[in-house]
Structure formats: structure tokens, C-alpha cells
Amino acid sequence: MIGEYGTKYYYGDYGEGKGGTPATSSQQQTQEEMNSWPLWEVFIRSKQGLDHKHVGSLHAADAQMAMENARDVYTRRNEGISIWVVESKYIHASNPDDAGSLYDPANDKAYRHPTFYNLPDEVKHM
């Protein structure tokens, strides 16, 4: 199915020198994009009080269609009570190559974790 709509780009799907955006240089790719529906990311809130969680992606021509496709594809088995959709191109992802400098420094800083506090039983969803 995906092949019909051109290349699918996941977050962090960095190609050589593309910087996360699909290359549009070649004639063929431009044609493909014209014929394709953009990709949307879907977030579902499963119940009141919980946050929206990323559940997957889909193709749709516009936001309205994306919302309905999300409803049909991702909430058929009572998975949700609220849907967010956002066009994938508006999501900026961190570059996996930067993982070392971004995340490793936090490794040895245990004092930043709130594990030294006792959490009262009444606090839910932490």
C-alpha cells in the first residue's frame, strides 16, 4: 500500500544529507508527491485523565480525512475517546547521531530522579 504513496518517512529517518525532509530534486519524486496523500501521525487518548499516545500513522488528503481515517483504523476496538492528528512533516525529530551528546550526560546524575520522595497513594498516573 505504502508504495503507492511514495516514500514513507519515520521520525529520525534521516537520509544522507536530507536533513529529515523528503528530497524533492528529482522529477520522479515531485510527480510522486503530487499523486500522494501526505502522511499523518495519530495520537489517541484511551481514557479520561490519561495523555494522548502515539499509536501510528496513516495517509489522508486533509485533516478531516485524517481524523476519520484515524477513527476507522485505530479506534475500532474501543481504543480511544479522543484523537489528535498532525501531519508528519510538522514533527521534528532529534537526530539519532546526536544521541550521545543529548542523552548520555544524564546517565550519571541519579540525583535528578524523584526517587528520594515517597509518593502518596492518592496520586494516580505518575
Partner: protein, 250 residues
């Protein structure tokens, strides 16, 4: 056969045949997402059909205890002339535009009809309609957006919509043309027709599609069991297994 039974079968047959037609798109939709959308609608309609058939079966068994009707015997063991669905529901799917347009006309009809049925004096019909109305509300939304998208889309999508209107429009009159048994059901068909027209006019305007001129003639017969040649083929495929291997299960 009393009128309530016939009417319940008519409602069931509408849903079953429309649902079956939609199921033919399963695995063939223009996009994965739309394939799932239409299959969902198909399953919704099948669910409605089951509810109506179960009720019809209980009515039949009450009125003549010698019979043992079930939802399955009603769906699988009646012949074409015993089906009371509107002709619109049995029409071939054609292309995506024709499928969408059929669905839009049908769902709009179901929507306004179920609005009335959920106030009906018959408790069962009332309950089934109230439950189904939520599903149908979504079907109307989904199909009207497609009508607008195709009608107001590209040159080709518009051409296909116009072609679909030519093919399908003559079958819409039957929806709100009350048959003898419907007349006994205390449903306001004038109101139904008026509401159907209003919805269709509004969506066609948004889709910049021309509304066909009103005509006093339309295709009819389905509600009385007189069908197009298409229904026979649908039933042949749908009923084959039960007829060839009675009571088989899996």
C-alpha cells in the same frame, strides 16, 4: 405475512444487501485507510441487519409456531422475490464515485428514517434504530465528505461523480416512496422525503454538483420483491454455502 414482519424484513434486507455490496470492496479499496473505513461501514450494516432479522424471526415464530425462523434462515434461505430491500442497495458498486454516492444517498435515508424510528411505538424497532443511529451518523459524515471531495475535486473526480449521479439518481425515489406495509407503520414519509432532499441539496451545493431535476418517475419494485437482475447474483454468492451445505458451521 403481517405488515410489521414485512417491514422489519425490509429494514433488515436494506442493511444486509447494502452491507454485502460494501464488503465487496474489502481488499480492493483505493487506499488502505478507505478500505478499512468502508469495511467498517459494512460491518455496522451487517450488525443492524442481524438485529432486525432476529426481531423478524421472533415475530414469525410467534405468529406461526410451526416455523422455525432464525436470523440465518431469513438471510440465507429466502429467494430474491422474498427480499424487500430498495433497489439502490443492490446496484453494482461501479467505481469509487458510484460507491460513495450510493452510500451517501442510502445513509442519508437511513439517518432520517432512524430519527423517526427511535420515537416509534414498537419497542424493538425503536431500540434498534436508536442504537444504529450513532453508526449511521458517522456514515453520513464520511460519505458526504467524499461526495464534496470528489464533486469539488479534480476534473476527473467531478466527471465520475456526474456519471454516478446519472447511474444512481433514478433509484433514489424509491427510498421515500412508501409501500403498502410502510404506510401502516406510522412513519411520516413526506417529512422523510423533505429531510432527505434538504440534506442532499446542501451537500450537492457544497460539492458544486448539479441536483437532477425533480421527476415524478423513478425506478421501484424492490420493496415489493421485484428486483433488478443484480440481486440474484448477490444472493447466489452470499447463500451458496448454506444452500450447498445446509447448517454447516465453522
Amino acid at each position: 405475512m403481517n405488515q410489521l414482519i414485512q417491514y422489519t424484513l425490509h429494514l433488515a434486507d436494506n442493511a444486509l444487501i447494502m452491507g454485502h455490496r460494501n464488503s465487496e470492496w474489502c481488499g480492493h479499496g483505493p487506499a488502505l485507510e478507505q478500505d478499512i473505513a468502508l469495511s467498517n461501514i459494512s460491518l455496522d450494516l451487517l450488525g443492524q441487519a442481524r438485529n432486525f432479522y432476529q426481531y423478524a424471526a421472533s415475530l414469525i415464530n410467534q405468529s406461526s409456531p410451526s416455523q422455525e425462523a432464525t436470523e440465518d434462515t431469513l438471510a440465507y434461505l429466502r429467494d430474491a422475490h422474498e427480499f424487500y430491500n430498495c433497489l439502490l442497495t443492490e446496484l453494482p458498486n461501479g467505481d469509487w464515485a458510484q460507491t460513495i454516492l450510493k452510500q451517501f444517498f442510502f445513509s442519508t435515508y437511513q439517518y432520517h428514517l432512524y430519527q423517526q424510528l427511535q420515537q416509534h411505538s414498537d419497542e424493538q424497532l425503536k431500540a434498534i434504530a436508536a442504537k444504529a443511529l450513532k453508526e449511521v451518523t458517522y456514515h453520513v459524515r464520511w460519505s458526504s465528505e467524499w461526495v464534496i471531495r470528489l464533486g469539488d475535486g479534480t476534473e476527473e473526480s467531478k466527471r465520475r461523480m456526474l456519471q454516478a449521479i446519472d447511474q444512481v439518481w433514478m433509484f433514489t425515489g424509491e427510498l421515500t416512496d412508501a409501500s403498502d406495509y410502510e404506510k401502516k407503520m406510522r412513519i411520516d414519509f413526506d417529512l422523510l422525503q423533505q429531510q432527505w432532499n434538504t440534506t442532499v441539496t446542501k451537500i450537492f451545493e457544497e460539492a458544486s454538483l448539479p441536483l437532477p431535476v425533480k421527476s415524478n418517475w423513478h425506478q421501484a419494485g424492490g420493496k415489493k420483491g421485484i428486483h433488478t437482475e443484480h440481486l440474484g447474483f448477490i444472493l447466489a454468492e452470499m447463500q451458496f454455502l448454506q444452500r450447498a451445505y445446509p447448517n454447516s458451521q465453522w
